[in-house]
Symmetry: C2
Subunit: 447 residues, 2 copies
């Protein structure tokens, strides 16, 4: 009998939590984002909860308005290399950009971490959105690439990286001591790539890992981003704020995967969730209020003024509704804004709520409440076609992860919606992804 | 009373050892260069021996003739991030090139590892020698930069990196929860660098570590390389094959440091050594013979033919002397060759010996013998002005490191030439280097 389909869980690890005010809570350690013991404990907690993976986001520029948790933090590739030693089963996903790093260096570092972790690495592929040009100016450019250009470059980048990962066939190393033959030269391959953006000869100086190569994670949201994700992503990270939007997105995205000639069942969609968990509904709501209260008015208004540019926010306060501020009829200059428009039109959030929505720590009513309520929401989303699993973006860490592991995971396990033990050792085994065929081994069969 | 001056020790960690045949020994694990437990054990052994640091070399290209230990190996920055968790005191130095990586990425990854290791990281700055163009072709270029260009770029690169490391003053983070003030914006600095090679605005999204920033290690050997090392290096890695050469180099190099306006006492010269240790002189010599015997004739002759290009080596065998082959009168096209010419002129090595010399696993008579003999050699070099310490490039690993730690280190400790316990926690504390002043803090005093 086939095992029941189970959901995938990923823990988004970020300092004191997703909420911009999380560092201000009495119990918060504001130095968390630079504390390796703290991150090790988070990863160990997620592993205790049998999570498929821990996820590290990234940005390549900051300014005075940046979220406290990202002002001073570890670089994610080095961080997952360190976390590999603090854990033994959980997958470790680091974000890295195709716009500001050489493909040879990226291919190599990710395969190195995949080896260090014995096949537990993942690469969250981003192209870097950089409206302000802050990132470009850290890398010798005045303005960032346009969206189309970025994804064309990302396509070529990923092709080069995958080619480099296949430099050595899996049985290339013969280790024949007697004859002094370390490897079989016929099984070492150069990609000799010359494309629009890159010229890379190869070979890579590291061979494939126990899972073949790192899992490719993608969170593109624009039209181009989704098309790219449908072509190359193996795990997809999306954020939708209600069931209908999530289900519509899930259906459409899987169709895009099929249209790209891939099996939709081989691509796993994780919906981002920021639950606020309490012993009772009231306790959860009070918790949410407590942290929202720490958001200073000038942070909210300053952020939105910067985000919308052409609107004069000085007339508004955090309790002004989007409708009162005229945001529901605004055409968005910011491509990011489009994804929020349906929610704004339907729910008419206050500016305080809108702020949380945009910075990604919004917790809708269906995710504020008891562990049972949270488990019910996840069960519905999972069983009714809105998700293959979830990215836990806890508003407050470590509390939000501890609670989820201690109180929600057991409910999901009771309902046989989530594993009670790791079945395998690699991230691909956890997710259920096949080991990618080495393009050179496959080729040699037909030659 | 001032403590007696003590030597610095660094362990060069590379798979089965420096010797090209080390993987062929019966006891060797040819998969060592890709085994994280193996590397963790090496680093732990060096730490048990109270070594100042472990050192990871690098290259950004391979070909069919490359040393088996570098064909398939970890990327060093990710490797030291992993080793940080397997050790608690020893410094961890990774090699990275100023020619093929963005300064923002490098500054960030090294500071991240310096944070992960709590102030134990070092950066071995290389500009990448690439006569074949193999490296350039992995990074979109057909030919590599010339020497002069490389070091001009390296100067600017290091300046940018150090500037980025100083983005945050040490007391920038005020963590004032009550007032919602995470940091003091006056203590966040952008470098706004626009130079010949790089334009980098900053700031970096990670603050300085407990040791300020990673220790800067350099091994430049050419005229330009030594000048660069004298300007920026804090620990210098040189390889000289006898006492006179080592002492002459040491004296000249320290003069260059003084000429560059720095205190020669703040720059530590480590001489590379490849000792072969035996219970008796005979045992050590037999050991050396045993491993040399594994070097196939075609490896030696093929390597030298490639190295010298204009010489026809097909007429020679490994026992031909350099004089018989006419190498002692040859003008070197390979800039690397210059450093070997005095040794070749004086010692007239066989081609087998010359091969070992060039690939860096040559063990002169003074380093083949009992632990006492090795300790005597190091004592002489250290006390008579040839070295501030040593880089142990063991021909065979783990044996060469185990033996050195178990048998040579205790002798050095008895003679009070080496520490019996770590005095501090950071690599700078081990070496005796000051925490670098933050350029912005210093500036603010005079504003």
């Amino acid at each position: 009998m086939a095992r029941k389909r189970q959901m995938k869980l990923s823990a988004y690890l970020v300092g004191t939590g997703m909420h911009a005010s999380s560092w201000r809570l009495e119990e918060a350690d504001p130095g968390a984002s630079i504390d390796i013991e703290y991150y090790s404990k988070l990863a160990q907690t997620a592993e205790r909860g049998k999570f498929d993976m821990a996820f590290l986001a990234d940005s390549l520029a900051i300014n005075e308005q940046s979220h406290p948790n990202i002002l001073n933090r570890f670089e994610p590739i080095t961080l997952i290399a360190a976390l590999a030693g603090a854990t033994s089963r959980i997958g470790l996903v680091a974000t890295a950009s195709t716009s500001y790093i050489e493909p040879f260096n990226l291919a190599r570092q990710f395969m190195s971490v995949d080896r260090i972790s014995k096949g537990r690495a993942g690469w969250n592929i981003v192209t870097t959105r950089d409206l302000s040009g802050n990132t470009a100016r850290n890398f010798g450019a005045d303005t960032h690439f346009e969206l189309e250009h970025r994804y064309r470059r990302a396509d070529e980048f990923v092709d080069v990286v995958r080619g480099l990962w296949d430099s050595w066939e899996d049985d290339a190393f013969v280790f024949d001591k007697a004859r002094g033959r370390f490897f079989d030269p016929a099984k070492l391959h150069r990609i000799r790539h010359k494309g629009e953006f890159f010229a890379v000869e190869g070979p890579l100086n590291i061979a494939r890992s126990p899972q073949g190569h790192p899992v490719l994670v993608q969170a593109g949201n624009s039209e181009s981003g989704q098309a790219f994700a449908a072509r190359v992503g193996e795990v997809i990270f999306a954020i939708k704020y209600n069931f209908e939007d999530a289900r519509a997105y899930y259906k459409e995205f899987k169709e895009k995967v099929a249209a790209a000639g891939r099996n939709p069942g081989d691509v796993y969609v994780l919906q981002g969730i920021s639950p606020v968990i309490g012993a009772s509904e009231e306790e959860a709501k009070a918790k949410q209020k407590r942290i929202e209260a720490f958001l200073p008015e000038e942070t909210i208004i300053g952020f939105l003024a910067d985000y919308f540019k052409e609107v004069d926010f000085s007339r508004f306060n955090p309790e002004t509704t989007a409708q009162e501020a005229g945001l529901n009829t605004l055409r968005a200059a910011n491509p990011d804004y489009g994804k929020h428009q349906p929610v704004i039109a339907r729910e008419n959030p206050t500016l305080r709520e809108l702020y949380s929505l945009i910075i990604g720590s919004f917790s809708g009513d269906h995710l504020v409440g008891t562990p049972e309520k949270i488990a019910n929401t996840l069960e519905q989303w999972f069983l009714e076609g809105a998700a293959d699993g979830f990215m836990l973006m806890a508003p407050v860490l470590p509390e939000g992860l501890d609670q989820f592991v201690n109180q929600v995971v057991p409910l999901l396990q009771e309902r046989e919606l989530f594993r009670t033990e790791y079945e395998g050792r690699t991230l691909r085994e956890h997710i259920g992804l096949p080991v990618p065929v080495n393009r050179n081994s496959a080729g040699s069969l037909t030659r």
